[in-house]
Subunit: 297 residues, 2 copies
Amino acid sequence: MVAQTFNLKTYLNQRQQQVEEALSAALAPAYPERIYEAMRYSVLAGGKRLRPILCLAACELAGGSIEQALPTACALEMIHTMSLIHDDLPAMDNDDFRRGKPTNHKVFGEDIAILAGDALLAFAFEHIARQTQGVPPQLVLQVIARIGHAVAATGLVGGQVVDLESEGKAISLETLEYIHTHKTGALLEISVVSGGILAGGDEQLLARLSRYAQDIGLAFQIIDDILDITATSEQLGKTAGKDQAVAKATYPSLWGLEASRQKAEALIRSAKEQLHPYGSQAEPLLALADFITRRQH
Amino acid sequence: MVAQTFNLKTYLNQRQQQVEEALSAALAPAYPERIYEAMRYSVLAGGKRLRPILCLAACELAGGSIEQALPTACALEMIHTMSLIHDDLPAMDNDDFRRGKPTNHKVFGEDIAILAGDALLAFAFEHIARQTQGVPPQLVLQVIARIGHAVAATGLVGGQVVDLESEGKAISLETLEYIHTHKTGALLEISVVSGGILAGGDEQLLARLSRYAQDIGLAFQIIDDILDITATSEQLGKTAGKDQAVAKATYPSLWGLEASRQKAEALIRSAKEQLHPYGSQAEPLLALADFITRRQH
């Protein structure tokens, strides 16, 4: 049976390599070199490629192919990278390190870092619109609309703004949930759901993918907050303890570490239950849910 | 005859009002209020709406309706505004005034200004994908792909990067042309061409629209450079003489003022010739070409 032989490590390695190659090809160096260098520096900095892999896995679960989802998968990583580059800017989180390397603006300057983010965001939409093959155009438009929604003031940016406004303040659980469902949750959710849309999945499937993604998204964020407290900077590849240093509201600060861990585990169980009807087809997404809780950085 | 009764002022007023209302509705205030305020502050700051109007006029010339092109027209203005907000940042051109008002970051802070630009860029693509009606989806995808191309490192951002790299240096005419065809030309060109695509225009029409737009785009930039030298800050609504102060390469600095004026006029003539086959249907685009050379700010 497929389910018994499924090996997450092999699966992740294979998918990461596919995504890596596709990203490098999509961002092949050209004139003006410096902006391509800056984009490639951050995009090809060796992240886990969680968003692209979720997109590819959801597309396969829904009966689609890797090829149908690969341009969208790459676009999601470009957008995620844009958000990291802009977050790290001195006017934002002012971070010097990311994934163990100096941040984009530390290497290329603030001006180029801002522009690299802008270019990645614009190119992401071009890439989906131009490169997606074998998918009805109205579905591609749906994916573009929903990704735009997940990034704009209704999504990632909205979450960022409320996060910035909440710094150093005592905030409600409601506000904290708004921040997380928007700042990181929205893009994770559309990463999964877009894979289902591109494969032509029906409403019921998309709703299940959506709930799966919301649950792992929140679990992901809680674990991020926990790691910020418990891990060292070396393990994280970025400055640890940063949230505490700037008095950012986090789940551990509201609930404590142990209750936060339990909440994350409950969310992962709930996420996996959503995929129950799909049997062995769901193996990669089930394993990815576990992978998120087990990560150490 | 329509051609004889065409009144540019009435036409521009009417179109500006349509665009203004559509932009305000598209960016209706919501939570988190501060980011919507920031986006609305710059988008609704009363620009000429040249890009949206070019898009609408090209769509009509090609036999389409205002309704088909309005979401794209608004998206083009959002993207243009994003580029202005990010350009004005301290790390970039460091401008305090724009259209006679304090720049976005002066009012809302650098962090919100960066995020407002990001949100506008992402929302622009969502808006086209979600709101465009009565156009075959594959044509909408084509518009999205070409707008992305006109904004990313292959377009506006590429032009910005070379412009930044050229500051204070003696540069070749070739480099200056690269800067202008990318920094301002690419978005102007797709503003016109997208109108033609949305109306289902054929290759020949799109090629003529493209050449028209390239010519007026370059003329527009040359006149911008001339105005930077000859106009006062009050007339411009932004800091005048800025290009000279930072030793930016401009056409007047390469050719002198008078030769630059002549070049701009020749380009406008050439732009208008492209539209010769379309008779009175071309009146708005012909008048817009003249409008660009006559502007004082």
